[in-house]
């Protein structure tokens, strides 16, 4: 693949886990570890298919999950033995504590966003000015990957062959821009409507991420679980000024 996509991965394995917990409406204090491990790995798989630069963090977490899962499969008396042998803290409890801690900050972030919304119309001398009229990406990478998974599931072509037909990202970028230019926005469905090949879908998805990164478009989901739309971003004035 000549064209590589480098995402500033703002989201990590903990975000993915919290996403999965929320998606499946699971109890954060009592995660079904086998199920969540399976789901986690399937997302990792997609990320690998997309050739996203997944930082080592994701792999470390995968290993942790699998270790917890293996441990939970031990017969219960062995578990005591195992626990006393290792005499380390219980990794499952540790992971849940981390998740709960991080969850608090995610909620606090929402408080901040709401506060910014409240005071966005007041301008001070000397303060940086944020363009609050601007719509921004309000959807996480995992929401997008979830959509991608659905699209891939519906696609009859499951081939993972690398050889054969080419699906250059540049072409997909042009296609998406043309679609958006018509109505200033397009839904995710529209963008993938004419993709019949698995590799075409992946390439199209990467094109979308690239456009987000280049700040040509932003992706929004105006309500949870509603349709995802891609909007054209107005030319933002040069940062230099």
């Amino acid at each position: 693949m000549a064209y590589e996509v480098h995402l500033e991965m703002f989201e990590g394995p903990l975000d993915l886990l919290l996403f999965l917990i929320k998606k499946d409406d699971l109890d954060i204090t009592n995660i079904p570890i086998a199920r969540i491990t399976g789901e986690y790995l399937s997302y990792l798989e997609i990320m690998k298919d997309l050739n996203l630069e997944t930082a080592g963090d994701f792999l470390v977490m995968a290993a942790t999950l699998m270790a917890i899962k293996a441990r939970s499969l031990l017969p219960s008396q062995d578990e005591e033995v195992a626990a006393s042998e290792e005499e380390g803290p219980d990794p499952r409890a540790e992971l849940m504590a981390r998740l709960m801690e991080y969850q608090k900050f995610k909620e606090a972030a929402k408080f901040l966003e709401a506060s910014a919304e409240k005071s966005k119309d007041v301008f001070y001398r000397g303060a940086p000015r944020f363009d609050d009229s601007q719509k921004t990406l309000n959807i996480g990478i995992f929401d997008l990957l979830e959509s991608l998974r659905e699209i891939l599931d519906r696609c009859p072509d499951k081939s993972r062959e690398i050889a054969g037909e080419e699906f250059p990202i540049e072409e997909k970028i042009a296609k998406i821009l043309a679609l958006i230019d018509k109505n200033r926005r397009a839904t995710l469905q529209e963008i993938f409507a004419d993709e019949t090949k698995r590799r075409g879908i992946l390439s199209c998805f990467l094109a979308l991420l690239e456009l987000v990164k280049l700040q040509k478009v932003f992706i929004r989901q105006d309500e949870p679980f509603s349709a995802v739309s891609i909007y054209k971003r107005e030319e933002v004035a040069d940062v230099a000024r």
Partner: protein, 210 residues
């Protein structure tokens, strides 16, 4: 020079009105919120109570005469600000110099710094479970966080904290304006389920349709 005699003195003690004018001037020109102590110092008075009182008067007068500006109490001090109703016009003025809004992920990094400051990048990363250098650089560039020191451990890593601009951006008087972190704890599902039904439901609804 009888009454004028005083005038020829080095400087007559400033009147209440004089000090008020000076305060107005300072609150107007400043680019940072001014705490009362700073106002005292710049106005050349030690009477903090008087200054606080005058600041209160200025605030009320601006409101009363429906001025284009208002006196905001923010980030531990006072500063004039434009009233929200003019936001659209101000945005036009600065249209080419607006900075991009923060992403949700950047807000998350920011919330960690706000609650745990001062802390190092490694400490933020431990909480977020992912590399935060790009987010951190964005926040530094937008002046929402700053370097506040170095941790006295191996490598003396930098420690970060929030800024005055952070408080201004989020309309906070101070960090204590933020709800305690624990208040964001996920409600235990058990608790949530057993939570008392909120009375409002159907009873109040009918009248209130539009």
């Amino acid at each position: 020079m009888s009454p004028a005699e005083e005038k020829t003195e080095e400087k007559q003690a400033p009147t209440r009105e004089d000090i008020k004018k000076v305060l107005e001037c300072l609150l107007f020109i400043t680019e940072q919120p001014l705490p009362t102590a700073k106002l005292c110092q710049c106005a050349g008075t030690k009477d903090a109570e008087l200054v606080a009182e005058l600041v209160g008067e200025i605030k009320i007068e601006l409101e009363r005469k429906n001025s284009a500006v208002m006196l905001a109490e923010v980030a531990g001090g006072f500063q004039m600000a434009t009233r929200p109703e003019f936001a659209a016009h101000v945005r036009k003025l600065f249209a080419d110099r607006m900075t991009m809004k923060l992403s949700r992920a950047a807000h998350e990094t920011l919330s960690i710094i706000a609650y745990k400051q001062p802390l190092t990048r490694a400490e933020i990363e431990e909480i977020r479970g992912v590399d935060v250098i790009a987010a951190l650089e964005t926040l530094l560039e937008k002046r929402l966080v700053k370097v506040v020191g170095r941790k006295e451990t191996v490598g003396r890593p930098l420690m970060y904290g929030t800024t005055v601009d952070f408080l201004r951006r989020f309309g906070l008087k101070g960090l204590e304006d933020m709800p305690p972190l624990e208040s964001f704890a996920a409600a235990e599902p058990a608790v949530a389920a057993s939570a008392p039904p909120v009375p409002q439901e159907a009873s109040a609804q009918p009248q209130e349709q539009n």
